[in-house]
Amino acid sequence: MRVLVTGATGFIGRNLCLELAEQGYNVVALCRDVNHQYLISHKNITPVKGDILDRPSLMAAMKGCQQVYHTAALAKMWCRDKNDYYSINVTGTRNVLELAMDLYISKVVYTSTCGVWGPTIKHPMTENDPRIDGFAIDYERTKYLAEIEARVYANKGLNVVTVNPSRVYGEGPITDSNSVGKMISGYLKGKWRIIPGKGTQVSNYAYLGDVIKGHIAAMEQGVPGNRYILGGEDISFNTFFDTLQNISGKNHGMIKLPQRIIEAYSRFEQVKTNLTGLPPVFLPEFAARLRKDQKYSSQKAITQLNYRITPFAEGMAKTINHINSL
């Protein structure tokens, strides 16, 4: 079977291509640069030059496919032109869904994010819970809007399932979109020495291998129009770095940076970025987020998609091995 994967050079997309290719699918890997260093070469993967914002190229790539995985997105913390978030994440998704409808694609899996919920109060968020925070973060806002597009097309009759990975970590290239990977790699090199606040803030970490399997299970068994959280364990910064230290054997003295200093610094970074256009290290909307937990429940995917969570320590060990081998 022929399947299209958009965002084939991305952290999730490239491993999804590989897993599908290994399973014998004929993978059309959509990418803007067919010579991209992160594109995986495999006999079952055909790189096709195209862009989700260039409809003719997208149409050419999608023609003849039965299934579409739409993983392409702008997932960085910051980019120079903020309008790029809207065009790539919302217009791009609309283009994929509209063409999928026109070309009678049998099923689409759309990769969203747990960021559409954002922070939590006490219990982990489930698919039915409302968002409780505003939309200061461009990535979260535009992914939320893209989910609305997916709902619109589901109502029009397109067979589309949304998956919501949490903070994904695992074996893959260290890029701006791979924020957990950057943190682990920084720690291993001795460059990352900071624990935000008291280190008690909890986030949900999803192992890449689980997320990839979750995507394929969503394609096979996902109920049309539904969404599924693909997460992992809820882990505090303290546990995160303790685990990292125990497994890597590297013991760096970590500095607990008070929340107020992080917030003041983030405001300075914002002024710097506004004046110079240089990329910021950190922005106030992300500093504010460190005050709140981000816990998510994968129970629905576990029940309906047979989703499995790799224990954090095991996933972390694999990730460290991978980063050490780079």
């Binding site: 006490k122 409780i132 939320y144 504010a288």
Partner: protein, 263 residues
């Protein structure tokens, strides 16, 4: 002492949702009001589960006087006494006057003007005079400034400002504390706010986050503040508005409008 109970209208999204969460985090029981199928049962479940307060929901369209009355009838039969009313539900717009139809403006005035007046009347009629009651009316900075493309919306918010200030005088000696909230733009429901990410400079600086506005609003309400203006830049705008002569303000507004003025 028995916990306080608050009505929040327009509670399913945006500022209303943030105010509901802010009140619940202060262990205040809630009556959430919003349109049917706007996600109210899910929000109520979430708040009960995570914040442990009592939450009652009422789904209905407040542009109908019968529905406003129906809300208080339901509360009476359920023996729920209301100590706090947050008149938050409202309908905004950003369009040239001719571009929206008459049905829209009728609805906008019914929701932004008539509903808060009726609900305030019904609320005051049932307050327990032994305890301090709180009324928070959500106005807007648009009610203070003349903002083109917000002609009817701004006028409804001017009404809310007048209405609230007048009640403050009338009820000065009562046990009801009355506050006016005058926020600038708030970064709320993104599908309604396609504009915000394109804003620059001062316009961008006036945009505030809903949880911050909700905190300042409820904090100010319990302090008995007469008017609450969230955000430093917004406060500055109000001061400038008071000291600048009218013709200069007109010049500024017209120059800002030049690129978009309709011919």
């Amino acid at each position: 002492m028995k916990p306080l109970t608050a009505i929040v209208t327009g509670a399913s999204e945006g500022l209303g949702k943030s105010i509901a969460l802010e009140l619940a985090s202060r262990q205040i029981d809630l009556v959430l009001v919003s349109l049917p199928s706007s996600g109210l049962p899910e929000l109520a479940d979430y708040i009960r589960k995570n914040l442990g307060v009592k939450v009652t929901i009422f789904e209905g369209d407040l542009t109908s006087a019968e529905i406003c009355k129906g809300l208080f009838d339901m509360l009476k039969s359920d023996e729920i006494n209301i100590n706090i009313l947050i008149n938050n539900a409202g309908l905004g717009n950003w369009a040239w006057f001719g571009d929206m139809n008459i049905g829209f403006y009728k609805k906008q005035i019914e929701l932004n003007v008539i509903a808060p007046v009726l609900l305030t009347h019904l609320f005051l009629a049932q307050v327990d005079e032994e305890r301090t009651a709180y009324l928070l009316n959500v106005g807007s900075l648009a009610g203070r400034f003349v903002v083109p493309k917000k002609q009817v919306y701004g006028a409804t918010k001017s009404f809310i400002g007048y209405f609230t200030r007048c009640l403050q005088l009338e009820m000065d000696r009562s046990n009801v504390s009355i506050s006016l909230l005058s926020p600038g733009g708030i970064n709320t429901k993104p599908e309604l706010l396609v504009m915000n990410h394109n804003l620059k400079g001062i316009a961008k600086a006036t945009i505030t986050e809903p949880d911050r506005v909700a905190y300042e609003a409820i904090h100010g309400m319990f302090l008995g503040k007469k008017e609450i203006i969230p955000g430093g830049v917004n406060k500055l705008m109000v001061v400038l508005n008071a000291i600048l002569p009218g013709f200069i303000k007109d010049m500024i507004i017209k120059s800002k409008l030049r690129p978009v003025v309709k011919l």
